[in-house]
């Protein structure tokens, strides 16, 4: 639930790239670079927390992490579902896929847009190398042969 006026990526591009290049879940640091709670948040408290950048512990990042899908036993290490927990249980095994940034409710849309447009590899573009042309066959034809054996 970030603020209406969000972080301008141009001002933080260098550090954002640094974060995204590091092999560690980037969601926590991207959250800290964001604008924080907006005044219209729905938390049942009287204190004014607009602009605060805490992790709300929703656990989205833990649920989306592809590495934890492959090694689910790591989830047993902690009950916590914060970005801190993600960093400690995934650490340097991070795939740098960027999924945790996209699912975090505390990260600015500007940062998410930057990640999607500049960082994420579009899945469909991989198709290109599997499609052949007039002279060369599609790799898929070989795949079909391999699967389709009596």
């Amino acid at each position: 639930m970030p603020q209406r006026i969000q972080t301008d990526v141009k001002t933080i591009e260098a550090i954002l790239n640094e974060i995204l290049n590091t092999k560690s879940p980037p969601v926590g640091r991207c959250r800290l670079l964001s604008s924080g709670f907006n005044p219209g948040h729905a938390l049942n408290i009287t204190e004014d927390i607009s602009g605060h950048k805490e992790c709300i512990g929703c656990g989205n990042c833990i649920d989306i992490c592809p590495f934890l899908f492959r090694e689910p036993h790591r989830r047993d290490k902690t009950e916590q579902r914060t970005s801190m927990a993600l960093e400690s249980i995934v650490g340097e095994d991070c795939d740098r896929c960027g999924s945790c940034i996209l699912v975090c409710p505390q990260v600015d849309t500007t940062i998410k847009n930057y990640v999607v447009n500049h960082r994420m590899v579009e899945v469909m573009s991989r198709l290109g190398q599997r499609i052949g042309d007039e002279d060369e066959l599609d790799l898929d034809l070989f795949l079909e042969e391999a699967i389709d054996q009596a």
């Binding site: 198709l127 499609i131 060369e136 699967i147």
Partner: protein, 389 residues
């Protein structure tokens, strides 16, 4: 425009039709199992039955329908192969008229004697080692082949879905050039007793375990292969079978048509024999609608396949047509399977019914990652080039 199947192919079609209905269909229970718990289900027919069927098929002159005549097959054209596959697909019996992967068609004269003909005559089994356990269906070839003196040394692991047999050899794809380069992959024929080559898995399984298909795993540990065992040219593995592979997609499309045809037959019988509220369910409009939808889908798909097959036989490029066939046939069969579930008033994939097994076989090649997106992409490329579809 002539929609008649040529006379000679009609004869082939009726020959195969009779073979399937007289010889194969009565054996279906042997495969599916008669017991409710599938304890007597099997993966393949007993050896003596199979040998009998093979001999019968050889006597009809249809052995090796897809194999070119110069390689000792019957050398039917694409349309003929589609017709044969359509009939064969109407039974769950795992039987083919000498089906050999076209990857092997590019063997030289020595390899033909030593490897190809034994495969065609069922004395040897070819284990197609293309998939790798780590990469899944990404079609990256991680296995390495290094040329040392007059032989290659292969290192890596493969999985194969080929049928296991006593005497076998592997058709292994390995990278001889730079990793990730399409041009850097070569294909090797690896003998059964080559040093460092071992196979595990592949035991025939009975009972409910026969329902799942598990790959064999092949390990190449410093496996030495003589240089003359390279199939095709070095670094040109993806050029193998160029002439035949695209039309295999049409043949698989024809398989979907055959399977759907069988499903339609089964559904019709069910609709005419099952009663609810004192009335045969075939009287109900929603059942009629389901039957009609199936029939329309099958007819449309059959025409797409035949038209593409005729084009292939005329020597035209069928890249787009083959993609259309694969995409449409898959979607059609999914739709038909839904209708079958509707008519059977429940899932048709209950183990022990032929429906489930039929669909599983026909849809296997479309179930890989991005398989259908790939076809859409191929079709779209042609449209975007400005070609009229």
């Amino acid at each position: 425009m002539d929609f008649e199947i040529p006379e000679d192919l009609k004869m082939v079609q009726s020959l195969v039709k009779d073979f399937v209905s007289d010889q194969l269909r009565p054996l279906e229970r042997d495969i599916l199992g008669r017991a409710g718990d599938l304890s007597d289900a099997r993966m393949f027919l007993p050896e003596e039955t199979e040998n009998k069927l093979v001999k019968m098929a050889m006597d009809t002159g249809l052995w090796g329908v897809g194999v070119p005549e110069q390689l000792g097959g019957a050398g039917l054209n694409t349309l003929g192969n589609c017709l044969v596959e359509e009939e064969l697909a109407q039974t769950i019996i795992p039987f083919s008229f000498g089906d050999v992967s076209p990857i092997l068609f590019d063997c030289n004269a020595e390899q033909k004697e030593k490897y190809f003909l034994p495969v065609l005559n069922r004395q040897k089994y070819a284990y197609l080692a293309f998939l790798e356990p780590e990469t899944g269906t990404q079609s990256n070839i991680e296995m390495k082949a290094q040329k040392i003196n007059n032989h290659y040394v292969l290192n890596g692991r493969k999985v194969t879905f080929s049928r296991a047999g006593k005497d076998y050899f592997a058709v292994a794809f390995a990278a001889t050039g730079n990793k990730g380069n399409r041009e850097g992959v070569s294909c090797f024929l690896v003998d059964k007793d080559a040093p460092g080559f071992s196979v595990s898995g592949g035991e025939e399984r009975a009972g409910w375990r026969s329902q799942t298909r598990e790959p064999m795993s092949l390990v190449f540990d410093h496996c030495e292969v003589p240089a003359e065992n390279i199939l095709g040219e070095e670094g040109k593995a993806f050029h193998l079978g160029k002439k035949w592979l695209p039309s295999r997609r049409l043949i698989r499309g024809a398989r979907c048509v055959g399977v759907a045809q069988r499903l339609l037959e089964e559904s019709t019988t069910q609709a005419q024999s099952w009663q609810s509220f004192g009335q045969f369910i075939s009287k109900r409009t929603s059942i009629e609608a389901a039957l009609a939808d199936m029939a329309v889908g099958i007819h449309a798909c059959r025409l797409v396949v035949y038209e593409a097959a005729c084009k292939a036989d005329n020597g035209q490029s069928i890249r787009r047509e083959a993609a259309m066939v694969k995409l449409f046939a898959t979607q059609m069969l999914h739709g038909v399977a839904d209708s079958v579930a509707h008519i059977f008033n429940g899932p048709a994939y209950v183990a022990g019914l032929p429906m489930e097994k039929l669909c599983r076989h026909a849809l296997a090649t479309s179930a890989t990652e991005l398989a259908l997106e790939l076809q859409r992409s191929i079709i779209a490329q042609d449209i975007l080039k400005g070609l009229k579809v």
